[in-house]
Amino acid sequence: MIDVHATIRTFLLADVDLAALVNTRVFAGRDVPPPGTNPGDGPCLTFKVRGGAGGYRGRDYEDALVLPSVQFKSYARSELEAYTVYRTLVDALHNGHGASILHAEEAGVGQPLEEPDTEWRFVLSFFDVMVRSA
């Protein structure tokens, strides 16, 4: 089966503008950054599949194509900087395609939020992604 998290991470890290902002701090399969990571030290992204794959939408193509809905959180020191990371993510992924990403589309507009425990600023967004066997 296609490794959706690895595929999306590789796709994002290949984007020059996004990589310039977050370096390699793109954490797949996570809701919040891993222990030891602090968005105050530099912007980062977390993302994880929240559903979609294996549902009725993918049933006809499940070996070659999966269609997950993916949750992204763009973290940074400030709300404005988090929004910059989010906008760069949209530029990289929305309508994006490549060898392993057939198509990606943002679902709604990103919403600035704050983690209740750590007060880290982030922008929440969701993308519908079509991932295929490369």
Binding site: D31, R50, G51, S69, A107, G108
Partner: protein, 139 residues
């Protein structure tokens, strides 16, 4: 921090469904979300579980939502004040919605989805629910 969070995916549009079918869909979605909250182990005070309600065609279960106020954590024993967001505007005729009104619900949804998952489950059940209503109506 109070959060009003709306998402287009939460609104499940069923074209051509009757008002009765939409109401049943909304209430079934509410039930699915509550089952998912339990399955996810996301119950502490019970406030969020009891803040989830369906909004159908001119009907809703808002009256079942627990009142704002102090609630004691079963896990830590601490007492915290919990509040619900107001009912979302913009649920129009021909739509159904499920509202997780607890103001912190979005964070638990992001950590382990109960609401999006419920909508996906509801999509799979929608055909059967609409057929049931149509049969009862003699359609």
């Amino acid at each position: 921090m109070p959060v009003d969070w709306y998402e287009r995916d939460v609104l499940l549009k069923i074209e051509g469904a009757t008002d009765e079918a939409l109401t049943e869909l909304a209430f079934q979605g509410e039930a699915l979300a509550k089952v998912n909250i339990q399955a996810n182990g996301q119950i502490d005070t019970g406030f969020m579980l009891n803040s989830v309600y369906g909004i159908g065609a001119g009907q809703d279960h808002r009256e079942q939502v627990w009142q704002d106020g102090p609630y004691k954590s079963r896990k830590t024993g601490e007492v915290a004040t919990h509040r619900s967001a107001p009912q979302p505007a913009g649920v129009e005729r021909g739509q159904a919605a499920i509202h997780a009104a607890a103001e912190y619900a979005v964070y638990l949804e992001l950590a382990n989805s109960f609401l999006y998952r419920a909508v996906e489950q509801l999509q799979e059940q929608a055909g059967g629910i609409i057929e049931d209503v149509a049969r009862r109506k003699g359609l």
